[in-house]
Symmetry: C2
Subunit: 401 residues, 2 copies
């Protein structure tokens, strides 16, 4: 095995400048990780000569199942790696092409892959990531096509006078052409923020690639921060520099939804939009699906297209002491919305999603009201792997009139 002193890696790592470093490391093998083979295999490697047990974890294992003696099928959440003189490796075959995250558990200590610079934060958890190329992931991968711009922009919220941050995608040639564009409002889930659809959802690459292929209309995409208790994603909020939190106050109480028109006004006042419901869509995942449901139902004149991706369609669960006003009288609001706007209404969920049953219930409600929707049922559960694909399915439905 070719050996390379860690000296070189350490030296390069400090501000890009070669410094002398104390040679306290053992020699480490000259390895790369992860390595994607031509056959689509992915090999993970970690040099940990003193470790007794190294395991791989992350959504790279999501297709692995274990059948227990009693017949129960269980997910496999950890896989032991193979040890060869301190070099721990594991090869996974047959992964669906996708954007994956993983980490190592080294004698119980969560460890990112030190050989992989690509890192993702998901709420409080950090992971190493990679893109496995192939048919299912080709729209996530940066291509040499015309690119839109991505901007982090602040608007002022009238509710409390605070500035809040939005991520805004403007399509290629937005600055060159004096035309107006339709707008998709794209909302994150609980624990997410205005960076979620960019970093995990690959929204920018999906938009660039689908526009370049002529699959969708060029559009503006606005990704707000749905946490009304926050100004911006962790690290950008002037009142909250602590670690990210999963369950922030006021996420599912109707306040964000009620105030939503001020975001729409900000966008219509500052971007070249087509400011009407035929040119305005709203979609979101999980909590963002709930937000999309109630924003569109309460402001029926605003949106002509709605996408509910694994939506939390049952706000009662989150408000056991009583349904907030903004969530009341749903059926009547939905009837008015469909009567006046005849929206394209898209509902998507995975068979294994823990919200599958409440989505079925919600569809029954729509059925009983004779309100038409497009329904997509996928494999898998409550995961980005599905939400990226739902976005890819939803986008071509938009702004066709």
């Amino acid at each position: 095995m070719k050996k390379l002193s860690l000296l070189i890696c350490a030296a390069i790592s400090v501000n890009g400048i070669v410094f002398a470093q104390e040679a306290i490391h053992p020699d480490i093998p000259d390895i790369a990780s992860p390595v994607i083979g031509k056959d689509g295999s992915v090999t993970f490697s970690l040099f940990a000569p003193k470790a007794e047990n190294v395991m791989l974890t992350g959504n790279v294992l999501r297709e692995l199942k274990d059948t227990l003696p009693d017949g129960t099928v269980k997910n496999i959440d950890y896989l032991k790696m193979n040890n060869n003189e301190g070099l721990w490796t594991l090869t996974l075959n047959g992964l669906t092409p996708d954007f994956y995250s993983y980490k190592f558990l080294v004698d119980g200590v969560e460890t990112l892959d030190p050989l992989n610079s690509y890192v993702l934060r998901d709420v409080r958890s950090i992971s190493s990531t990679f893109l496995l190329p192939g048919l299912e992931s080709e729209l996530f991968i940066p291509a040499n096509v015309p690119h839109g711009s991505l901007s982090e922009v602040w608007y002022n919220s009238k509710s409390d006078g605070l500035d809040r941050r939005l991520s805004i995608y403007t399509p290629p040639a937005y600055d060159d052409m004096d035309r107006a564009y339709p707008v998709l409002y794209l909302l994150h889930g609980m624990g997410g923020d205005e960076t979620a659809w960019v970093d995990q959802g690959k929204a920018v690459q999906i938009l660039d690639n689908m526009i370049a292929r002529g699959l969708i209309e060029p559009m503006i995409v606005v990704m707000p921060n749905g946490n009304i208790a926050r100004q911006a994603a962790p690290g950008y909020d002037s009142f909250a520099l602590e670690q990210p939190q999963f369950n922030l106050p006021h996420t599912i109480d109707g306040l964000f939804e009620e105030l939503f028109p001020e975001i729409v006004d900000f966008i219509d006042n500052n971007y070249r939009t087509k400011p009407d419901r035929k040119s305005r869509a709203i979609a979101g995942l999980s909590m963002g699906g709930l937000h999309s449901l109630y924003i569109s139902a309460n402001y029926p004149e605003k949106f002509g297209y709605v996408g509910l991706f694994s939506a939390a369609t049952d706000p009662i669960r989150h408000n056991p002491e009583g349904l907030p006003r903004f969530y009341e009288d749903r059926s009547n609001k939905m009837k008015k919305f469909f009567d006046s706007s005849a929206p394209v209404y898209f509902i998507a969920i995975g068979k294994d999603d823990f919200l599958y049953d409440v989505n079925t219930q919600y569809r029954k409600e729509l059925d009983s009201l004779n309100l038409p929707y497009i329904y997509e049922e996928s494999n898998g559960g409550h995961e980005w792997s599905n939400w990226r694909q739902y976005l890819i399915k939803f986008l071509p439905m938009l702004f066709k009139e």
Copy 2:
């Protein structure tokens, strides 16, 4: 010690949704890391009950020195942490308020802090980070002040027809007011890219805060990718999805510098700029300092302000086989530049910088030509800690006429 099963952390981490997880972890203590005390102390903690040796490394140690028996003073690059029943901790006192990075070395394995979601990539290396608040760092910290926008924007390069990505800061109220702004072009060092001044340089927060305090003129700041062999930062380049590289081709051969006017033209054509040298500045660190030096010297009509932060002023080192045409005849070009533009010329370097001597030599060259410059000599070496402070010193010099 209060115990909390890792179950909860792991459960929250998967797409923000609570899943059942196999309970294979030992109980881990309910700890936070890093913890910043009221006295400015910083305590790092890692639960690694099976580890024999856990060390702390990173620029948190940069002020620690060791004197060897022969009198040599050495940097301390690793500090052993204290083990208490598997909980490894270390407290550092007296750190200068700054933006810091660190990681753990657990029996030789580089490990990011699993309790800290804030991660930074520097070339190929990933680290955990934190902001230590205080006088020296207060301009890096997000404040509740009017915010500028940060955009990732693509321009087309005439040299090879490729689109390349720029980070562009527009000041608060840029979209509200019909006025024109001056522009600072801010360049990264070797191994960096268009994200470096944003992620490591804290340029957005520094600009927001200094504009809000009335310390500097509102300005547009353009941060290009100085790697002419690349389109964009790792992960966004359609031809290079591999791991980041430190030493890319064509970084110090004059090509990026020669083509620079196409970036200036793109900005002047697409933003409300004041398109003259009295309203245009260029500055960069290390390789970006070299770029700034030669762009301003070769296009003397373009820039009225130049900042060289720890600049690589000696392109011969990087071109041992002969100086590229664009780097030739420096003294004459500099004379013409100073004669025609009378620029504000700012040179800054740390006493311990490995480029200190070549900077001294360059200043002698300017002295011998009677060309005036402002010189700032700081402590420390070739590091972001200095570059952020140099930017803070340089910005108030700009666009005062």
